[in-house]
Assembly symmetry: C2
Homo-oligomer: 393 residues x 2
């Protein structure tokens, strides 16, 4: 008489988390330096100094107001500052009332999906996709519809999205820079998607939302990351400071319901209602104040760029095939056999922890997180060599 689908979610943690836990145990067994853990996207660059400085400054304030409740949508000063930064950076007329502070992008996505769907609706994702999208879509009583990305560009297959949109479609979730592939959607690609959504809205007489999951916006290697609200008005941005400020455990981010959609205030109100329904009272207040001070802090992507070069270069030399990443900190590598799980299992024998692509909705690949120590990448190359040779023997 417990909820069996909740039990199933608890009993089968995500493949990423499972491999991460295996890695911790294995490191305890044979020493951390002997395990090449490419499993989890825990930033390896420290939070910038301004985070520590801001905490030290805030901690001198009156604790009653410092740690007290903020309004459900967030501290008004923080919401205003976030709206100002969106306006300044992206040129959209963002108002504070459209910003809702959240406990990270995960909360933002769960809340947004609950806000703009009813049970039985369909939500489209571009595969390969972050596995928890399925969890949150199904938790809202909706069906996930997977539309494969184009190969080998891993841009959105806009014709396939058009074909997948039906009378029950509520939203399309996009994630650029992309986890797990590292693709950044081009302006042209996003404009084509927007055109399809606009046409389908008219055809179906139904609102179609674009949910833009943007934790990696700041982690890019030179390509433009277009701001989607400027391309499609009915966009809901789910942002997180987990990666840009290296604060993943602190759970801080925001939802921005674009002012450019005609029902902006109504959707914003619905987001607040959905947050309330899911048990969110307010985003952690100390961290709200911290990010307010860090809105213009550049992310330190140099370390990730160096890791990317090192890993991609090394694997290329060994003859591995992979997608050249334009953003995020993941390398999407072709498995050396069709069964990605079997490939990941064999890699374990060489102490290489690689996430099989099955959990991202496609077969035949593995994801390598390179937000790790440079030394780990260097030392892993003989293991990758041996893994490859084991398939050639």
């Amino acid at each position: 008489m417990i909820n069996e689908s909740m039990y199933a979610l608890g009993a089968a943690p995500s493949a990423i988390r499972e491999l991460f836990a295996y890695g911790l145990a294995r490191k305890a067994e044979i020493g951390a330096e002997n395990v090449f853990d490419f499993s989890i996207g825990n930033p390896s660059v420290p939070a910038p100094a301004i985070v520590r400085e801001t905490i030290l400054e805030l901690i001198e304030e009156d604790p009653v107001t410092l740690h007290g409740y903020s309004p459900a949508a967030g501290d008004p000063r923080v919401r205003q500052a976030v709206a100002d930064s969106i306006r300044e950076r992206f040129g959209v007329p963002a108002q504070a009332s459209q910003v809702y502070m959240t406990a990270g992008a995960a909360a933002g996505l769960a809340i947004s999906i609950s806000a703009i769907t009813v049970p039985g609706d369909e939500v489209i994702v571009i595969s390969p996709y972050f596995p928890e999208y399925r969890t949150w879509i199904e938790a809202a009583g909706c069906c996930i519809v997977e539309v494969p990305a184009q190969v080998p560009s891993f841009q959105i297959d806009v014709d396939a999205v058009a074909a997948a949109i039906g009378p029950k479609t509520s939203a399309v979730i996009v994630n650029s820079p992309n986890n797990p592939v590292g693709a950044v959607y081009t302006r042209e690609n996003l404009e084509a998607l927007a055109a399809v959504l606009t046409a389908k809205e008219a055809e179906l007489g139904r609102e179609l939302y674009l949910i833009s999951d943007e934790p990696y916006r700041e982690i890019t290697y030179g390509k433009e990351v277009p701001y989607i609200p400027t391309i499609y008005p009915r966009t809901i941005v789910c942002y997180s400071y987990s990666k840009s400020l290296s604060l993943p455990g602190e759970r801080i981010g925001y939802i921005y319901v674009s002012d450019l959609m005609e029902n902006a205030a109504r959707v914003s109100t619905t987001v607040a209602g959905a947050g309330r329904a899911l048990g969110y009272v307010c985003a952690p207040v100390l961290l709200q104040r911290v990010v307010q001070k860090c809105l213009y802090e550049p992310s330190d992507v140099a370390a990730y760029a160096a890791n990317r070069e090192l890993l991609a270069g090394g694997l290329a030399e060994l003859g591995y095939e992979f997608v050249e990443p334009d953003g995020a900190f993941y390398l999407w590598v072709k498995a050396l056999e069709e069964d990605a799980q079997a490939f990941s299992d064999r890699a374990k024998q060489f102490e290489l922890l690689l996430v099989p692509s099955n959990s991202f909705g496609v077969g035949g690949w593995v994801r390598l997180s390179y937000c790790i120590a440079r030394e780990t990448i260097e030392k892993s190359m003989p293991a990758f060599k041996a893994l490859k040779e084991s398939y050639e023997a």
Copy 2:
């Protein structure tokens, strides 16, 4: 094509929050010292010094691990320390695996309800009750069943609970010390409830959970607050540090699924799954570490005890009727007319902000939060006098 029930939740914020917002606006208008705001349960006692000291200590650690993800159920060291403290304080064999760190009791309740119900189930609450219970029960697709407390003791009416339990009942939520009434359930009362639940489990062949919402456990004025897992094994405790450590905005607490129920591990797994479904990745990690250091920190209830005496004494002298509170920091006062909303509205004319009882599921009362400045209480007495006289004219 948004979700209309989520819109409704966003559009009609709780009466408490609404009055709180009115108060902020009114204070800006006529000066904070002229508004007597008894609306919200935001602790007025500062967080103990050890909170600040612990943050200052933690902030010197490596930021990569300090702010990194913890496992979904919490930092293993924190879970172990919480389990140890439960074992030491309450004599139950608490294991770390049964502790799940949450973003406050609100998250704990939303998660627990989702874990042990399926849509269509019924959850019993004791009225008057914290209004968000309805929100979370309905968000899980379940029906709320209100069972009035005994009057004037405001203990649980155990016979009425027995009569309300049916084949769809999944859980009873109890909250002691109680918001809004301040009642603390006696051991005898809880034992009678446990006996009814045990008998009904056998009769219906169905698990019946007791969800114990305990944010006010530490805020008591002398009465014993029995630990419910020692009385009824199938208990899920939702705890929060919002009140005991005055950290309401930081969102930190835990769920403890009692080890004493025969399916303890299974329920704990289901709680983890429900947390995942609702978008919780982990409880804020810095605050997890802070509460680990504060587990044996006594709550400063002296200020609340003094406020309680002052407010209760003053209102008694003026001839108001109220429930003598044994815990929490609320006074439940009889409205001077049947319509509590009309009474609250009239009180506003005297700059008194009192929450009408309708939002707690009963008519005819108002709730006064006395976690406020002593001076506000002192200065409010002429207003209470004038309010009373306005009904006698």
